[in-house]
Symmetry: C2
Subunit: 415 residues, 2 copies
């Protein structure tokens, strides 16, 4: 059970937690864009740190270097560029090491305490110059209000800043803590571990093993429930750094403090994940698929992900067409076992709630009413698999509609 | 090894083999289209028959009825409608049984010897009327030149007639045989067993177990290597009927005659499969992905399918943009194990041959030259995984580009 009780949304994103600052510069990696392309997040002291990574076996050089640096569970800064993924490059490791080395030198920390990430085109060479010029400047612009700038600098095809923070209380010692995060991701998004770049910071004190467990578990129900286009990036990473500056007693087991922390982490990651789906390339609508009363929790997860991943479901939602047969098709091909004749389907939005299918067959709904429901910006597809005593076998996943602009953005990405 | 030697393309499609006729009528299932929507294929004698079916667990009623009818390995006719998938309908089985019963009555065969299939919108009720009016007419228009009409009548969003036939010789008795087929399929196409409707006829004499084996094996390297949009239809089926009227000695084992028959069957199915990819919804280009020197044959198959399935690869090919990093991304996420640093990638077409990646990194190709190569109607992506002594670990898969028209077709499918 996840508890969201007592969470208080606050300002500050990745700088909301005590000890953290951030900043961004234009290093010139995106030659022609005129926007910032290099971001830094820094903590005044070394933090407990954990991360999850893409499962793609073609991995960016920054993934390899970060995995090495996080072996000891410690980090003090994150350096990230957009405009080039630093993947499938002959000099990839050299550049990723350079990014860490320059960062460490400029802010006087250990090179091994730097997390490095890159996002952009795969397979294009990077030179040292933008980093040699940019990182010293970047180190000078770190600020407690730098979160939004950092978030903007790591955006590629994103159109929205994805930034959240919450204040929460750890019950055992009644300590107030903060947690916040920023992320980027709009295309090449498929649920397989982390599916974007996400950087989270907190001032709670928590051991590395518990931090890794919380991140992995939260990832499973947030980023791993998002799909834009079925493609899995080579560079995905979600990291969390915990400064401990809130002064709580170190969380080392699954006690009440852990539960409160886990709820706050889930709140940050679920919000970032949903915003990622809403901001999917070319998207006009957020699609949520809620599956309930499934034969198993795994079946619920498979079906919810399959439905929001189906190109045909996505195209129908774009057209506000309640072609619910495609929802049944996607559920049936998900790999989950269920009885099609027990299935009912509803389409829900702020405009209404229409049942379209019961016992696996159409109920003769009004196409006009369903169209009205589907015209909303946020559409929920509710699939009840009709198993008895299966209240806990449920899942939610998020995606977006498939539009002309998805094709346009990805056909013209490099031009 | 598949042998294509001695195959001679001939006219006649599904009527090329001795004993078969076909026809089509407008039964009015597609209310407003004015085109034929009901097709019949008939053989003068009962045939050995085999089929492969969709793996989607939400199955059309025609699949259930056909599976029952083919239990004895015998069939004499195929009845197919377009315009309605007869899936997720409360009266689905009733209608599918009706289609078989009316067909059997009108052409004086056993109801259990009828194969039935439907394609179109899922989840819309069908009435008995179009079949009661159409099937008696249809029985009267059967003809030896009816293959193309039948093929047109089963098309939905297809824009091309998919029809092939070959003459070939069985070496053991020096008998000449014929084999031909028609198919439909343009969207909701994902490699999972049969991925469309395909009906194949031959006058070779072959036992039911050998016919089923040949069909299943040929399916594995043809229809199972095609992807348009990652969605798996509820109604897919490929069937083959063998009349035996060529008079060869019955094929009951994997001898030379079997090899010749298997080659001819593969030729029909590979051609139909490639045409399906070329005619993918909204497609402007056929994409072929050839993988070689893989760690295993399975790895080669996974990678070739993943590359032609990637939305981002498809969008890049649409734009004739050699964004080969997306090819590496798709290969890496395929689930196959390989060493990214041994990979080379070439883009090939009638306009040229450009190497874009070697040892997992860019080779500094000319974007202009690669653009020219990608402008062709048929583009081949060649991925060499660089394993030694792995000549047989190869695979080919077919797909198409992702275009504005894919979105348009599927957003407006029911309007």
């Amino acid at each position: 059970m996840i508890t969201f009780e007592g969470l208080n949304p606050i300002y500050g994103g990745v700088c909301a937690a005590a000890g953290f600052t951030a900043g961004a510069v234009r290093a010139g990696i995106k030659a022609s864009s005129g926007k910032d392309d290099l971001a830094l997040i820094y903590c005044v002291k070394p933090c407990s740190a954990a991360a999850v990574y893409t499962q793609n076996i073609v991995k960016g050089a920054p993934i390899t270097v970060t995995q090495k640096h996080l072996k000891d569970g410690k980090a003090q800064a994150v350096i990230v560029n957009s405009g080039n993924a630093n993947t499938c490059n002959a000099n990839g490791i050299e550049i990723a090491e350079l990014m860490c080395g320059l960062t460490a030198d400029c802010i006087k920390i250990k090179k091994e305490d730097v997390i490095v990430a890159s996002t952009g085109v795969i397979g294009q060479q990077l030179t040292r110059e933008p980093f040699e010029k940019g990182i010293p400047v970047l180190a000078g612009v770190l600020s407690e209000v730098g979160s939004t700038d950092a978030c903007k600098a790591i955006m590629t095809t994103d159109t929205r800043v994805k930034e959240f923070a919450f204040e929460f209380t750890l019950p055992l010692g009644n300590k107030t803590c903060r947690i916040g995060g920023i992320s980027k991701g709009s295309g090449m998004i498929n649920p397989d571990m982390a599916t974007l770049l996400a950087f989270i910071t907190t001032d709670a004190a928590i051991s590395v093993p518990m931090l890794q467990k919380a991140l992995s578990d939260a990832n499973e129900i947030s980023y791993s429930r998002v799909n834009i286009d079925g493609d899995t990036s080579t560079n995905d990473m979600a990291s969390v750094m915990a400064s401990g500056l809130a002064g709580n007693e170190l969380i080392t087991e699954e006690n009440e403090d852990y539960e409160a922390f886990f709820g706050a982490l889930c709140a940050v990651m679920l919000n970032l994940a949903k915003e990622t789906a809403r901001d999917g390339e070319g998207a006009t609508k957020l699609i949520e698929c809620a599956v309930m009363n499934a034969p198993s929790e795994e079946a619920a997860a498979l079906i919810s992900r399959a439905v929001i991943s189906s190109s045909l479901v996505k195209a129908a939602v774009f057209a506000a067409d309640a072609n619910w047969g495609r929802i049944m098709m996607a559920a049936g091909a998900s790999g989950a076992e269920f009885d099609p004749e027990k299935v009912s389907v509803r389409i829900v939005s702020e405009n209404g709630d229409v049942k379209v299918c019961e016992n696996g067959a159409g109920v003769g709904h009004s196409d006009e009413e369903a169209h009205k429901v589907l015209l909303a910006d946020e559409v929920i597809i509710v699939i009840d698999l009709g198993e008895e005593n299966a209240e806990l076998n449920r899942s939610v996943a998020w995606g977006c509609d498939l539009t002309y602009d998805y094709v346009k953005i990805n056909a013209e990405y490099r031009t």
